[in-house]
Structure formats: C-alpha cells, structure tokens
Subunit: 211 residues, 2 copies
C-alpha cells in the first residue's frame, strides 16, 4: 500500500519572530499534513491543508522537497511526503481564531520523525530565496513602511542591516512604490507606506559568483 501526503511548513511573523505553525502529533508536535485526495493536484492538496489549519484559502505556497525514505510509513504502508512551505501575511494572522500553535523557528520543541530537519531546510530555502527574489513581501500586509520591511528581512536573515543602504537598494530595485498613505498613531514621526509593485519582476538575477 502506498500513500502520498502533503506537508506544509507555514511561516509567519509574530511578535518580532519568524514562527511556524505546528499541530498535535503522536507524542510530539508535527507539521500540518494531509493525505493526497483524489481529484486534487498536489498544490491544491497543500492549499486544502493550509485551509484546514488556518481557515485561509490563499497564501504564498512553494514546493520544497519530496521525502521518500523507507522509515516514512502510515499504519497501512509506505508513505511519500511532498513538502511545501507557505508564507502568511501578518495582517491575515491577526484575524485567525488565535488558538493556533505558533512556535518561533529558532526555538522549536522536538518534533515527530524528521520534521525538525524539514523545517530547517525550509528556513534555509526561505533565507536563500529572500536574497534573490521579492518573497519578503509575502509576510507583510499590503501596505507597509520601509522600517517594517527592513525588520522583516532582519528577522528572517538573523542579522541587522544598514538603514540607508537598505532603503537605497530596495527603492532602486523599483519593486515597491509609495502609496499616498502614512502610518500614524504610533510614537514618533509617521512612516510613509509603500506597496509591492505587482508588475515588478519577481526574481532579480543574482550576479554570478562562480566562475
């Protein structure tokens, strides 16, 4: 007997940290998963899994890797796991039932099977992808300030960035545009809000290093 499941590593920003959604497994927490349903593509099945756990029908979703080792089994037989990772916008999170099990990716409890390795691999891919594509916006609301964007990058990359250099580069890249609005209400000077330009080229070709 052979089964396929989709696993989804669901990332979001929360309390200044990158967090992952976990659910109850056998003994240990585990990644949300769902057996592949007849009539659904792999991606639709992953989206259905996302919806089961967050009620959100849509999100940035990308295939990560397919795991097919022999330890991977259901009760009845062999299992192959197709892992996806998802990025949730922080404003979407705030509207959730709030009884979710979010865990900071830097401080995960032990997980079932190899799920810890899978999360770490997803994080590696996310960091890597941040460096040559515009994927960081997926974690922010539609309108955001440059400081919020910079904080997002810093949280994911785990390092601080220079404010002036960050702004210059992100604006020169032409992938965001100012909106007429400002974020006021907080302390300090109100920030101009920007939005991602949907017509911008999503992936900027990185300069070749080698050779």
């Amino acid at each position: 007997m052979l089964d396929i499941e989709t696993l989804v590593i669901i990332f979001s920003l929360h309390q200044g940290q990158l967090q992952v959604l976990l659910c109850q497994g056998q003994g240990y927490p585990r990644l949300p998963g769902r057996l592949l349903q007849d009539g659904l593509t792999l991606e639709d099945n992953a989206l259905a899994c996302l919806k089961e756990h967050t009620s959100l029908p849509q999100a940035y979703l990308e295939q990560l890797y397919t795991y097919g080792d022999l330890q991977r089994r259901t009760q009845t037989g062999r299992l192959v796991s197709v892992a996806y990772f998802a990025l949730l916008a922080s404003d979407a999170i705030d509207q959730l039932p709030a009884q979710q099990q979010w865990h900071p990716v830097n401080d995960l409890p032990p997980l079932v099977h190899d799920h810890t390795d899978i999360v770490h691999y997803a994080l590696r891919r996310l960091r890597y992808k941040l460096e040559y594509s515009a994927v960081g916006f997926e974690l922010l609301p539609e309108a955001f300030s440059l400081s919020e964007l910079q904080r997002t990058y810093e949280i994911i990359l785990g390092e601080t960035l220079d404010k002036r250099n960050f702004r210059r580069r992100i604006l020169q890249a032409g992938i965001i545009e100012p909106t007429p609005h400002q974020r006021s209400g907080g302390e300090g000077r109100p920030a101009r809000l920007y939005r991602y330009r949907p017509d911008a080229i999503a992936e900027v070709k990185a300069r070749r290093l080698f050779p």
Copy 2:
C-alpha cells in the same frame, strides 16, 4: 489507484553540446522513468532508472520537482512523477553501448506529455546552480584542463567567458588543484590538468543582491 514514478533528466556533454538522454515513448520520445519499487527510496529508484538506461551505477543526482497534476495518469490510475536530474562525466559516456538516444538540449524533438517543459526546467536549474556551486565538474572527467572546464561552462550557460577572468576566479576560489600531469597529444601547447578538490566547500555563498 495511485502510482509514483521517478523521472530522470540525464545530461551529458557530447560533441560540444549539452545533451539529454531520451527513450521511446508512446508516439513521441520521452524521459527515462520507472515506477517506484517497494523497498527503494525515491533516490535509489532514480538511480535504478539511471542504471537501466546507461548501465552506470553512479552519477551526480539531484531532486528537481514533483509533478502531481491530474492529467498525469497510468492506464490504471493516477500518477505522481518525482523528477531528478543527473550529470554524467564525459569519460563515462564514451564507454556506453553507444546506441543511446542523445539529443542536444537546444534542439529537442517533441516529447510526450509535459516532458519538454520538465527538461527546460531542469536546464534552468542546472544553469542557475552552476553559478553558485561546483556542479560543472560533474560533467568532466576526473582530470581536466582549464580550457575544458571553461568550455563546459560556456556550453551550459550559452555564452562565452573571458579566459583570464575565468582562470583567475576559478583558481582563487580554491576548488580545484593542479595535478602533476599534462594533456598532450593534441595540437598546440599541452595543458596542465587539474582536479576538483573533494575537500572544497561545494556551495559558495553568492553575494546578496537584494537587498
């Protein structure tokens, strides 16, 4: 009924071109594939597929993508295809039965299903990977000259590279080392042979472009 197959896009250099191994499909040529066998991991199944078609037990092998749309079917039911790409060293090729169906990747015949798209995606990944990892060596024999290495890069990338810059960068990266041997017998001055340093770090972190 649900089945899993592994597909393998087998690349090699041949006659100054990057070529792909195809086999006979229904009406059109197709990529080598093999239904997942009980007791084999996905990767071992892909290796078994490679061995069926080339008699080579080993090669550079990397998972590419898993295709799970609804058009993908066997006679009996649904099919999910886990695609891998393989790189064969050019000296290994020369020892093959030679009745293989190699096709230049730039001049493919029409293929069954979406196999043409899969090959093009594999090529994109190969090109991309060449820019930040040492994967180019996998297509060469163990000992190679710098000119041969440069030609390999030029063929895959589809552009010419500056000889002096190429040499400086590849040597500075410290990923190859000279051997005491030379390649003589051809026309012109004999070339010093180099080999890949197995202790070198395989992936060089590309400079971040963004931001």
